[in-house]
């Protein structure tokens, strides 16, 4: 809220008067104006302070807070609450209101992932507009009038859209809060790490909120070339597996039927001695398009070192929605194509499967994939193998058949780059440390390579790997990991269109929104 004024309009033929600094005298409007609803004009005078402005701001704050409950100690929004910030900046600190506050429904269950507290609502209607215009599922609206205006869901409906959690992000107060994050941690303890989502090919930009070595929540990060400001709930909530019970924390070697913990040195030694017993065409490598460019590059190097021809990644498909979720659920398919220099890195999976079944392939190295659940292998196939080594995050069905299980790092635990479906190179950042003995995957691959060659690797950091990529693959030319930046760099034109951005463009073209 500011005070505005314009210089008096001169009569025809009259020159405007100016003071010694060349400014025209301002005729101030005696009432304050809402600054966000006005556009700046030439010669306009604006007062952002002064008795009138400050008194008015204080008055507005007092009205906003009249019915607002004193919930800050229990409110999840405290610390990132716009109203709290405004109150600290412009409010009076003490309430003069002595009457009963208006009571409204609290702790309302309006959807599977969202909790509503109507007393905290300041009726900005951002959530209503988001559900209507962006998510395309208009289920929110106001009932009643005046002080009793209440946000609610349409009768018989629930706020169950896959984009519902975005309403909690845009809610300036704590009226809409996430069930998943509810009462988990106060936001001022959280460390924010910018990264990207790995649940589908879109590569939504995210912020990982951590405290200590625990992820508490994930929120979308603005990137107008990828995800605008939004992200789907299903992707946002898919991080709890990182510190689940099934997480592997040390290398495991099979001792007859049982898996026992071992050290990295011993595991690598076992790998080096065992793999030498097989001819190159008896070995197959299955990688994953969920690996970063750096990991894929080292995987390719491992393949070349062993001279293996049987090599494939695992395709992973689902339904695309009309907004952000892509049909390709692998986050780095484009990157895999670039790094492996193949048009279809998924093609030879079936051949490997039949090779294993016919016992032509006797040793299988699988990285970051659960072969039974995702790649169509059966338990019987895997038990036919003479030597089966697998890297994974979690204890899964196929890991049970592995001779050697190597624990890797989750997406929030590593640094690296990926290329999304529209050809944008983006960077993952490390928000937390891998648990106990689990290792960053690129280090694991590097050590596997030097275990085979018997030479010490010259790669000491992820930057070294990326430097090697830039020197061999032309599209990465002249880049470094830090040059990628927070917003990513478009390195290839794939022609893939992200539906949500197309919607936005259409609405902009139709004049519905500015921006």
């Amino acid at each position: 809220m500011v005070q505005m004024g314009m210089p008096p309009r001169p009569a025809p033929g009259q020159e405007p008067t100016r003071d010694e600094n060349g400014y025209e005298p301002i005729g101030w409007i005696p009432r304050p104006a809402i600054s966000c609803a006005n556009t700046v004009a030439e010669n306009m005078g604006i007062r952002t302070s002064g008795e009138l402005v400050e008194k008015c701001r204080e008055g507005v704050m007092e009205f906003l807070l009249i019915n607002h409950p004193l919930d800050c100690p229990i409110c999840d929004q405290a610390g990132e609450c716009r109203l709290q910030e405004q109150s600290v900046g412009f409010g009076r600190g003490v309430s003069r209101f002595i009457d009963m506050k208006v009571k409204k429904p609290k702790n309302v269950d309006i959807g599977p992932r969202i909790r509503l507290d109507d007393e905290r609502c300041i009726m900005c209607s951002r959530c209503i507009r988001f559900m209507d215009e962006v998510a395309g599922d208009a289920v929110l609206g106001f009932t009643q009038r005046g002080t009793h205006t209440t946000l609610t869901v349409h009768p018989g409906r629930l706020l169950d859209s896959n984009y519902s959690l975005n309403t909690a992000d845009i809610c300036p107060v704590g009226a809409l809060t996430s069930n998943d994050f509810r009462f988990q941690m106060r936001v001022w303890f959280l460390k924010e790490t910018p990264s990207i989502d790995v649940n589908c090919g879109t590569g939504t930009n995210i912020v990982i909120h951590t405290r200590g070595n625990t992820i508490h929540r994930i929120t979308p990060r603005q990137n107008d070339a990828v995800n605008s400001n939004w992200m789907p709930d299903s992707h946002r909530l898919n991080f709890h597996y990182i510190d689940s019970e099934a997480r592997l924390t040390e290398p495991l070697a099979r001792d007859n039927t049982q898996h026992v913990g071992t050290t990295w040195t011993k595991a690598l030694e076992t790998f080096a001695t065992k793999i030498k017993n097989f001819a190159a065409d008896e070995i197959a490598i299955i990688g994953s398009a969920r690996m970063t460019n750096e990991e894929l590059f080292l995987l390719e190097e491992l393949r070349n070192t062993l001279g293996v021809k049987n090599f494939s990644l695992v395709a992973r498909n689902g339904d695309a929605d009309a907004l952000l979720i892509a049909a390709d659920r692998n986050p780095n398919t484009t990157g895999a194509k670039l790094v492996l220099k193949q048009d279809d890195p998924y093609q030879s999976l079936a051949a490997i499967r039949s090779g294993v079944q016919s016992r032509k392939i006797k040793a299988l190295l699988s990285f970051s994939e659960d072969l039974i659940t995702d790649a169509g292998f059966s338990a019987e196939d895997l038990s036919k193998l003479d030597f089966f080594i697998q890297s994974s995050l979690l204890a899964n069905p196929s890991a049970a058949y592995a001779d050697l299980v190597l624990p890797g790092a989750a997406f929030a635990e590593k640094r690296g780059s990926m290329v999304n479906l529209s050809g944008r190179l983006q960077r993952l950042n490390r928000a937390i440390e891998p648990p106990t003995k689990a290792r960053d995957d690129w280090e694991m691959l590097r050590d596997l390579i030097s275990a085979v060659t018997g030479e010490k690797s010259a790669l000491h950091s992820i930057e070294d790997v990326f430097k090697k990529i830039t020197s061999t693959i032309s599209v990465f030319d002249g880049l470094t990991l830090s040059k990628i930046g927070a917003q990513g760099i478009a390195i290839q034109e794939t022609g893939y269109k992200i539906a949500l951005l197309e919607n936005e463009r259409a609405r902009k073209a139709a004049g519905i929104i500015n921006g």
């Binding site: 100690p73 229990i74 009963m100 506050k101 009571k103 609290k106 509810r182």
Partner: protein, 188 residues
């Protein structure tokens, strides 16, 4: 800023030998020793001295009766006259605590609880008394009048685990405190 020239005081020949000053010092320390032996040290009475110097002989003589009003002992959690635990686990004390002695795990109050409208309470509330420096910042910052420094000063234990006060222990020491602001009691 004015410049002040400081000069060392001029010493005469006698002072320059220093022996006089040293003997004066001997006299001072000795007179202190004698006073101390006679139980006449300055401040001995106020500190309930045991008779030698100003020191109290601890296990036999206790400080309890001489504790000043403003004494800051162990931080504790309190309940109010309705038996409600006042802490809503806002974690401000955890944030402000200079030595990071406080650790809180928040939780939601189940809907069948009479105080379900408060919504939030601590599941675990640990104060590591080895870390605590008795600064009272937690009491100062608490928006719910839930944490108070009581006069307990004998915090001992034989292991590190024993020195961590958990929620039960904190409520046990804290007890009930009446006359606090009851903002959650309003019609709701």
């Amino acid at each position: 800023m004015p410049t002040i020239k400081l000069t060392r005081p001029k010493l005469d020949a006698g002072e320059k030998i220093y022996l006089g000053a040293i003997f004066k010092g001997f006299f001072l320390t000795l007179s202190h020793a004698i006073k101390s032996l006679r139980g006449k040290s300055a401040g001995a009475e106020g500190l309930a001295s045991s008779g030698l110097g100003i020191t109290m002989q601890f296990p036999e003589q206790r400080w309890d009766d001489h504790m000043p009003e403003y004494y800051r002992g162990a931080p504790t959690l309190v309940t109010d006259e309705q038996g409600r635990e006042r802490c809503v686990s806002c974690q401000l004390c955890e944030f402000i605590c200079p030595p990071k002695a406080i650790k809180i795990t928040p939780s939601e109050i189940p809907s069948n609880d009479p105080w379900a409208k408060v919504e939030k309470r601590p599941l675990e509330f640990d104060i590591d008394m080895i870390r605590c420096i008795y600064c009272g910042m937690c009491e100062e910052v608490c928006p719910e009048q839930a944490i108070y420094l009581r006069k307990d000063y004998l915090i001992t234990g034989t292991s590190r685990d024993q020195m961590v006060h958990n929620k039960e222990k904190l409520y046990e020491i804290g007890g009930v405190r009446v006359g606090l602001v009851n903002k959650w009691n309003e019609l709701k």
